[in-house]
Amino acid sequence: MNNSYLPYFLCLVFFCVGLYGVLRKRNIIKIIIGLVICEYAANLFLVLVGYKMGGRSPLYSPDQSILDMVDPLPQALVLTSIVIGLATTALVVGIAIRIYEKYGTFDITKISKLKG
């Protein structure tokens, strides 16, 4: 693989680690951790796409005129996405705590047996 695609591929592997957690783990807290990892990987990929080689951060300076900036549009989209991700994680944690109160366990295979 060409070296310039290596960060994209590592980001994809990072996403797959989170996917493995969601698919394979039985504990609800581990599933939530996998979801958080997937969210980090998606945010990271959007910022990686907007990076410009040798660019500066998108802030104007009073003394000098900066010509080569990185792409500010993915950064603006990801900024809202991070805060939404925190609120969504809190919602999932609330549902997990309710499940623990009702069934007394975090194991999803036992929960499917204990109906009612």
Binding site: L59, Y60, P62, L79, T80, I82, L86, A87, A90, E101
Partner: protein
């Protein structure tokens, strides 16, 4: 704040350090919010820092102390006020023509009062994000006490 109440919250060391630092954390959150248009930061980061300062207070002193400073109805009202303020800034654009038109005076760049309505939008978003996240945390904590009583 009551430093000598041994039943609520953590030990005396944690309470003293919290009393020294929590004001600085809140002040830093306000700084990040108000300078969002001339330096990195903005309403989202500032709001989360404000929420963290109240959560810090609650973890050290117990939930009654934090609820005495910021009552529960006050939180939900202020969060809705933040959302309505942001919508109000958007509707104010109709005075100049269309939705989200920025008709405030722009001023010079790199000054505190510049860039039109961005500073008001930052304050509205900081209210919304900060008090919303603090409300979420408060609800998650309150359940533990009620389930123990029953």
């Amino acid at each position: 704040m009551s430093y000598d109440n041994k039943d609520k919250g953590m030990t005396l060391i944690v309470k003293t350090i919290t009393g020294l630092t929590v004001g600085l954390i809140l002040l830093y959150g306000l700084y990040i919010t108000l300078h969002g248009h001339i330096s990195p930061g903005g309403g989202f980061a500032g709001g989360v820092i404000v929420a963290i300062s109240f959560i810090h207070l609650m973890l050290a002193f117990g939930r009654e102390e934090a609820l005495r400073i910021l009552p529960k109805t006050f939180i939900s009202v202020l969060e809705s006020v933040g959302a309505l303020l942001f919508l109000g800034i958007a509707i104010l654009g109709f005075m100049g023509g269309y939705f989200f038109l920025d008709w405030f005076s722009k001023g010079k760049p790199f000054e505190l009062f510049s860039a039109g309505s961005i500073i008001f939008s930052n304050i509205a978003i900081a209210l919304k994000v900060g008090l919303g996240l603090f409300g979420i945390f408060l609800v998650l904590i309150l359940l533990k006490f009620t389930s123990k009583d029953e």
